[in-house]
């Protein structure tokens, strides 16, 4: 690290036209300071990562792969299997995507394709504001408004198709995977919509107009041009939304019901990786319990970084291809 900075500092003095090199000029110090800031951050993040993995290690060592595949989590029996929480995280994220992606794409299309700019701008800002509401406020609203609102809907589904499909069946009322998923969906709609909006707006004007010139409708423009060209970009939007959904903590903790087992139905109470950490970490007096919870954090971290990394990579690829297309 230090070597890089030094060499970079030396090459920076090329901007001095006389080529005279003072041993320690302002630029070298300047780059050293910037480099030190970067190095400090890198070191701190590295330390945090190492510390966390080290703190979780006893749990990993003791349970091995069972830590991830074990379906029983019982602090009183010192058995720690993370499967119920991994299941909860994946289930709520999947339902949330199912709900949020179509809505977000339609919102983005409305804003970029159909509304005149003067109306489109405020609509876009309003949807963005969904992301500005703090998680804990969504949780409060979810607990007191959404849970009661969803109760008759849940009962209806359980009494209808739920009779034949246990996944949609009882137990019904109250906090559940589904309520948590709805809240998460609300929180990721603005993310997916914002990225998709950029993607759709980047569609080359020429190709849009070609379709219109051939007598196509705006829907034809969307179907033949906007969506095919924006495919990778939309993919990135969905991945970034998924990354956010996986990590969502406080609102989920408040409405998911906090039950450390794999619920048979989407109406069962459950737990996600993030919410079990939030709920149990302060009460974890047993060392192994705390270690196992940090272990869940490491699992969560890995999932979030992989999904988000894929999202960022796909997004960059889209941006590059969009630039080339222009």
């Amino acid at each position: 690290m230090a070597i890089r900075i030094d060499s970079a500092g030396a090459s920076g003095s090329e901007s001095n036209p006389l080529g005279r090199r003072r041993p320690l000029n302002g630029d070298v110090i300047f780059k050293l300071v910037a480099g030190a800031a970067a190095a400090l951050t890198v070191t701190l993040i590295g330390l945090m990562l190492l510390d966390s993995v080290k703190a979780a290690w006893p749990a990993f060592e003791r349970f091995g792969p069972d830590f991830v595949t074990g379906s029983r989590w019982s602090p009183s029996f010192t058995i720690y299997g993370a499967l119920p929480f991994i299941y909860g995280t994946l289930l709520t994220s999947a339902i949330a995507l199912l709900l949020a992606v179509p809505i977000a794409l339609l919102v983005a299309l409305l804003v970029t394709e159909f509304l005149p700019p003067r109306i489109a701008q405020p609509v876009a800002v309003a949807v963005d504001l969904l992301a500005a509401v703090p998680s804990v406020v969504w949780g409060l609203w979810g607990l007191l408004v959404l849970v009661p609102f969803m109760r008759p809907i849940e009962r209806g589904i359980a009494a209808g198709p739920g009779q034949f499909i246990s996944f949609l069946g009882p137990p019904t009322p109250g906090p559940s995977y589904l309520v948590a998923a709805v809240i998460v969906a609300l929180m990721i709609v603005p993310i997916v919509a914002a990225v998709s909006r950029e993607v759709f707006a980047a569609t080359p004007r020429l190709q849009r107009e070609a379709v219109l010139a051939l007598g196509g409708t705006r829907w034809d423009v969307i179907r033949r041009v906007v969506l095919p060209i924006g495919r990778t970009g939309v993919m990135a939007a969905v991945l970034l939304g998924l990354g956010r959904a996986i990590g969502e903590t406080i609102a989920v903790t408040m409405v998911i019901g906090n039950a450390p087992r794999i619920g048979p139905s989407i109406f069962s109470p459950g737990f996600t990786l993030a919410s079990v950490i939030a709920n149990e970490f302060n009460e974890a007096t047993e060392p192994l319990h705390a270690e196992a919870l940090v272990g869940l954090g490491v699992v969560l971290l890995a999932m979030a970084v992989i999904v988000n990394g894929a999202g960022v990579a796909v997004r960059r690829r889209f941006e590059r291809s969009a630039e080339r297309g222009r």
């Binding site: 890089r4 300071v33 966390s52 609509v123 609300l186 709609v189 007598g215 970084v305 960022v312």
Partner: protein, 294 residues
């Protein structure tokens, strides 16, 4: 934003026109569906909380017992302000320096830090809490407002780096060349030309980062922990507004706790919105054809 098309040709078949209209209708319905919860959240919190915002709500501490009525949220407001301010003091200089490092030094080292900043931005906030717990709280031996500030700074840092980098990239080439022609050294160029030029953009990024940090609960759970009493001492456990809302909401069966949560949520939402909308307004104001100048 929607481009305006000249009406070149009328779509031929009625069926296709109908389909296009149907899509518009669907898109409108979806947008309304997305905005109903937003309206509901605001109306609900304002409706429930507005009557509670008397002066003593801001000037008194809550009673030690969640179920007891009366008192205010002074400790939480003070804690949030103090922790957010300290987090800003940590994240802003560091963030700007990292952004300068990335644009100025470049190369593989910059790719590395950029990757790390991406990772940081992807961290679930609860994981940030665990990280800072294992680095700061364990080392200090106790929960503290300082640890809470560090956690909030970790949340803010990637947002500041990304917005600053974007601003530095947008600096027009003539300005760079002008500085070079004057024989300014790079550090002088940054200090007297680039940073002042990019300042409003950096400030906007800061506002959005603060609006995010102020509302975060999860990073504070195992760092600042919360405190029923007022403290300005950063070495002690400290209350934050999100923490207070969280704990009171979980006990919302008690009317007093529920009211406290509602009032605090309203105050928090107003703070977040103020920062957020101000930041957006600044972005929008400088966009149309004004270059990247101030």
């Amino acid at each position: 934003m929607a481009a305006e098309y000249p009406a070149l040709l009328k779509p031929t078949s009625r069926g296709r026109r109908l389909k296009a209209d149907l899509v518009v209708l669907l898109a409108v319905v979806a947008t309304v569906v997305a905005l109903i919860p937003l309206a509901s959240v605001f109306l609900y919190i304002v409706g429930q909380g507005a009557g509670l915002l008397r002066p003593e709500f801001f000037l008194e501490d809550p009673p030690g017992d969640l179920s007891a009525a009366g008192g205010g949220i002074r400790n939480a407001i003070a804690g949030t302000l103090e922790m957010t301010a300290l987090a800003t003091l940590m994240a802003v200089p560091l963030g700007i320096l990292i952004a300068i490092f990335d644009t100025e030094v470049g190369g593989r080292a910059a790719t590395g830090t950029r990757f790390l900043i991406d990772v940081l931005a992807a961290l679930p906030s609860i994981v940030v809490g665990i990280f800072v717990y294992s680095l700061v709280v364990v080392a200090q031996g106790h929960f503290s407002g300082f640890a809470g500030s560090v956690a909030l700074a970790v949340i803010m840092l990637p947002l500041i780096v990304v917005s600053t980098e974007e601003m530095l990239r947008l600096i027009p080439k003539p300005i760079t060349e002008g500085a070079r022609a004057l024989g300014l050294r790079r550090w002088r160029t940054y200090l007297s030309v680039f940073i002042p030029t990019a300042l409003s953009g950096i400030f906007t990024g800061l506002l959005l980062a603060v609006s995010r940090a102020v509302g975060e609960t999860a990073p504070l759970l195992f760092t600042a922990l919360g405190n029923n009493f007022f403290t300005a001492e950063l070495s002690e456990p400290m209350q934050g507004m999100p923490l207070l809302i969280y704990r009171n909401a979980l006990n919302s069966a008690y009317p007093a706790a529920r009211d406290r949560a509602m009032g605090a949520a309203l105050v928090l939402i107003l703070i977040v919105l103020a920062f957020n909308l101000l930041g957006r307004w600044l972005v929008a104001r400088r966009k149309p054809g004004r270059g990247s100048g101030r």
